[in-house]
């Protein structure tokens, strides 16, 4: 197992190198010019060109990529074109809000969606099942920003239970941290809950029709044990897979959610950087996201071995 983990971590390096090359190339051929954004709307073409030169944007692609890649190998993600701050510093400032949002969303989603899916499968065909399926359809259909605005209006503006926007670092207390994050987490979690609940329901339905489940029921095993001891564990592999895949959804959804709730996270940093063509920041964030995604996939693979003893590496 240890060898597998080490092998997997080592294999992330070429994956991330390829991602880096791909992103760098994509930005190079994409239209847009950070110098024009920096110079402002009234600047002359000559001013824009001077800024391009001072930023080194007029140098050949391979030279720029080579320099960037060499720095990355040394752990230096470069300097933001706009803020003149190190990309690592910008990411460090933003990583806590995004990780907090993702973790809280994940906890909320799994703790709500899995029981919902199990109950829906157990009560298949009843109003409970239809209600869960209906909620799942709602979760998929309503845009994230609509849910965000509605929650903010009711719980922040009307009831004054939580702030409308912003982020409080966890170091300043769990409760302030939680108050700032609960609405964004529910907002972001809605799609995720819908996704996991549907997959859980579908896989549980399949498992519940297996012979061993009928045997357990015939032997008089309680419903709770049938569901949670005999069935859920066998339905867990696809659910764990979808939770892992869902991390990608979380990353995408975080961009919108962080904008709606003005959370200074990586999503907003990425969006701002893309709109301004702040290449070093885009590249740095994409690398970080890729690394997180690779690690999540590794974690999912390891969890497989826990829930299904037949899987061995």
């Amino acid at each position: 197992m240890l060898a597998f983990i080490i092998r997997r971590i080592i294999t992330t390096i070429p994956v991330m190198a390829f991602v880096a090359l791909f992103v760098f190339s994509l930005l190079y051929i994409a239209p847009g010019d950070p110098a024009a954004v920096i110079a402002g709307d009234q600047a002359s073409p000559a001013d824009v060109e001077r800024i391009r030169q001072s930023l080194g944007l007029d140098r050949p692609y391979l030279v720029r990529f080579g320099e960037w890649f060499f720095r990355v190998l040394q752990g230096d993600l470069g300097t933001s074109i706009f803020t003149s701050l190190p990309v690592t510093q910008l990411i460090a400032q933003r990583i806590e809000p995004t990780l907090s949002l993702m973790v809280l969303t994940l906890i909320l989603a799994v703790s709500i969606a899995v029981p919902l899916g199990v109950v829906a499968a157990w009560k298949a065909g009843t109003w409970v099942d239809r209600a869960v399926v209906g909620f799942a359809v709602f979760g998929f259909s309503v845009p994230v920003f609509v849910i965000g605005y509605l929650l903010a209006y009711v719980f922040a503006l009307k009831l004054d239970w939580v702030p409308v926007q912003g982020y409080t670092p966890i170091a300043q207390g769990i409760w302030p941290w939680f108050k700032n994050l609960i609405l964004p987490s529910i907002t972001l979690g809605t799609v995720y809950i819908a996704l996991i609940a549907r997959i859980t329901r579908a896989t549980m339905l399949e498992v519940l029709q297996q012979d061993y489940v009928r045997t357990a029921q015939a032997k008089g095993v309680s419903n709770r044990d049938v569901l949670f001891l005999h069935s859920l564990k066998n339905a867990a592999v696809p659910v764990v897979t979808i939770i892992g895949i869902g991390v990608a959804l979380l990353i995408g959804g975080a961009v919108v959610t962080e904008s709606v709730f003005a959370i200074p996270g990586l999503g907003r940093l990425t969006l701002d950087a893309i709109l301004r063509r702040d290449y070093p920041v885009i590249q740095g964030v994409v690398l970080i996201f890729s690394f997180v995604y690779v690690l999540v996939n590794l974690a999912v693979d390891l969890i497989y071995t826990l829930v299904d003893p037949r899987i061995r590496y």
Binding site: Q42, D47, S54, F145, Y149, K158, L159, D160, A262, P264
Partner: protein, 532 residues
Amino acid sequence: MDRRNFLKTAAGTGVLAATGGLAMPALSQGAAAKTLRFVPQANLANFDPIWGTQYVVRNAAALVWDTLYGIDSKFQPQRQMVEGEEVSSDGLTWTFKLRPGLKFHDGTPVLAKDVVQSLKRWQARDPMGLMIKAIENDLSAVDDRSWKWQLKQPFPKMLLALAKNNAPCSFIMPERIAKTDPFTQITEYVGSGPMKFARSEWVPGAKAAFEKFADYVPRSEPADWLAGGKKMLIDRIEWVIIPDAATAAAALQSGEVDWWETPLSDLVPVLKAHKDINVDIGDPLGNIGAFRMNHLHPPFNNLKVRQAVLTAMNQEDFMRSIVGDDDKLWKPLPGFFTPGTPLYTEAGGDMLKMKNVAAAKKLIAESGYNGEPVVCVVAQDMSATKSMGDVTAELLKSIGLKVDFVATDWGTVGARRAQKTPPSQGGWSMFHTWHAGADCINPSSYTAIRANGDKAWFGWPDVPAVETEVTNWFNAKDQAEEKAAMDRLNKAAVENVVYAPTGFYLGYQAWRKNVTGVTSGPLPFFWNVAKG
């Protein structure tokens, strides 16, 4: 339901809530009562007011760096850091003297050498600065408080150049910082203005904070825009970056922020209905909507085609697409200069009032238009340019032009508009933008009105008659001469269609009623603002 309609619906719900007496939260602010929380128009992504010229940087810089002169609400330059100035009888030598007791935030005194180096850096990036540089013999310190500017020919607009609020302003920095190449960003933010920048708290994209500078000595005259006594009544100002308009509106309603610089017009009814919020015009100098045509390539290298577009244009269509139904927020603009300012003119602007599609079609027929597609590049991520672009596309089609509508983002427009190649080879035919009314009061900082061919702004119009009148304005001896030059300039610019003004529009600002002293101006002025 799209985003805009959802915002409107949410706004309507908000009105109900506000008028129905729903309990609005009053968060316990504690220490926040001594802090003013301000939502700026955009993110403060960098903080060098010379390197970049974004308005948001200029606005923040006005807190941290002071200027030698400041423009007042009558558009007159007034002394700010200077005690006095002398100009020789031939107009060739200007001698300035600093006020005593001025200090930078690091405790060092402001000296003439700091001023000289700061002016040199500013000159390299500012259009008026470059004009002075072109006729300069010497710029050097005489002693610690005095410096001399020797010119080869008189420059009557010297004080205006040093006082103007158009970016880049001639902010004064310590010499060691001002020595930074004007095309390289400074990394130390030390000024002598009324507030210090809290560098350690800066999170670009989220927050910027400013703290009162105890050693600032304001002038004794009453504050008036950038002139007069900049008395800080607040200890701390936090700029809270909220990119989403609906969220900013909610934060203002809940009291999480105190002042929002640019509320979205769709949300203004909600804010107006709220008992604790004031709403008023933000910048009385507003904005001039614009689209520029590329004078280098067909079809807009043909004067008759450009004139046809102006002849058919109905500015009301453009303005309503930006501001909606609020008639207080827009005016037709038969010219290029800012309404309500002393030199405003409509001379020769009849073409912009015609709204005559039939006459425009006739002009197109006479022009010999060959059916070349108009590559109309429109930034969809800025609501004003998107709205205007949609109207323009219909306008062009209505007069028989073939339109190739390129929907993209501002980053792409910014790069593409610099291309001089034909539209079919990556160039462009037209793009949309707007100009701050503060920049369009006269030709001094009005880059967009210049028509000096290759040196002109994107679109590269080449109209000698316009350039002659720009020169005449700079050399004018009095306001009557200036006005006459502006009349002729406006007429020549309309007749030759330097660019297409789509109208004049204003925007609101909104603030909590416990904040006093908020005024209308071309930038948010924080001096004399108090929070109860």
